[in-house]
Symmetry: C2
Subunit: 202 residues, 2 copies
DNA sequence: AATGGATTCACCATAAAGGAGAGTCCCTAT
DNA sequence: ATAGGGACTCTCCTTTATGGTGAATCCATT
């Protein structure tokens, strides 16, 4: 339903579930993918584990990859052992930090129940997070006029209304939307507006 | 540009800026509004203050409202005094927890530079966060068929393609989208899809 | 001065979206 | 049982969006 494809073996690398937070800025990520088991998500949410979670604290304080078992931060709420009771036994945390790119971070947590992760898998997951981080980068080539038109489409205005509000002809708005669709690789204005919104461009 | 209106006096209550995270679930909110001063946002982001920020830790551990000056949690990175150097002098933290509503929390941080907040203002901000929390609640009356159609609109499919993929007539898809627009109070399918996406419905 | 890019606009044909109305199916409350 | 209500379906018609083509303008770079 989501249209997300698994071209990078994520389902095989994390058969027990995973969590991805891509392009975290001030506090929260532009894109969040939560494929952890629902019971654990429910329990984690209800107990507000995030700020105490050693995995979260590790990815905020480090760059690279580590097995959960290699995290030496204290765990007063015993969140990691609690996770095991939900079947989340072996895990890897990956943190990617791209200082050149607006200080945006991406991180992921990956789980399997059968055995500890290998060094190769750690490396593969590091690469995966980096690739997803790059893939989630929004295009920066859209002009102000194009973004303005997209934003008004998102708000439910018609081309005629947009043209009148902006003070140009309807043809100009069409052209702006057409350009925007091309740059966002979108088939329709609705998709382009949704993409621009998801990317935080509007 | 965003269409957000200030019908609740937020600009007067927080002349120095504010931050709102509405309907926080597993880790991240459905809606984030960051109206803090840009230099502070930049500094805060680059230093990854969030997990250490006593204000964030307070809202995650409490319900209600407090002045920043009344937060007794330790502040090893001296984030609050650092904030003062950016002009964020007096602040209020509000945390709203609605256990009856899927364990979703909302919180906000509000700033003014001229004087400490009054009790009345604390109360007003508490009400404001609760109202915003409720207002951000997505409608739950959309049917599966309607959400399916909206999701395919968001992905850039045409009505004809949607109808063919789903196995119904184009007219049926139009009706589903019409119903969805009514329920979401949207003028166009593009707006409806963007709204449903923002609400996390699709 | 020339090149290229971005923007703006017009015109036309076609495709898609939107609106009104009515019928069917199914579940529920009277 | 039966009268609603909601979801779903469909048709007919109107309005709107999209795609293609061409062209003029403005601007920064070469």
């Amino acid at each position: 339903m989501d249209g997300m494809i698994d071209g990078d073996g994520l389902n095989e690398l994390a058969p027990g579930g995973y969590y991805l937070a891509l392009r975290v800025g001030f506090a929260f990520p532009m894109l969040e993918v939560n494929a952890l088991p629902e019971p654990w998500v429910e329990h984690y949410t209800r107990h507000r584990f995030m700020l105490s979670d050693p995995v979260i604290r590790w990815v905020y304080g480090n760059t690279g990859a580590t097995r959960w078992s290699g995290i030496t931060l204290d765990d007063p709420l015993r969140i990691l052992s609690c996770a095991r009771t939900f079947g989340l036994r072996y895990g890897v945390a990956v943190s990617h930090f791209d200082s050149a790119d607006a200080a945006l971070r991406s991180f992921g947590s990956f789980v399997r129940a059968d055995r500890e992760y290998t060094d190769d898998e750690l490396h593969a997951l590091t690469t995966l997070v980096r690739n997803r981080h790059v893939a989630a980068k929004p295009p920066d080539t859209l002009t102000e006029a194009e973004l303005e038109a997209l934003d008004m489409v998102r708000q439910g205005l018609r081309l005629k209304q947009i043209a009148h509000a902006v003070g140009v002809t309807e043809g100009a708005i069409k052209q702006r939307l057409k350009n925007a669709k091309g740059k966002l690789n979108a088939q329709t204005s609705a998709q382009a507006a949704a993409l621009a919104s998801k990317f935080g461009l509007i």
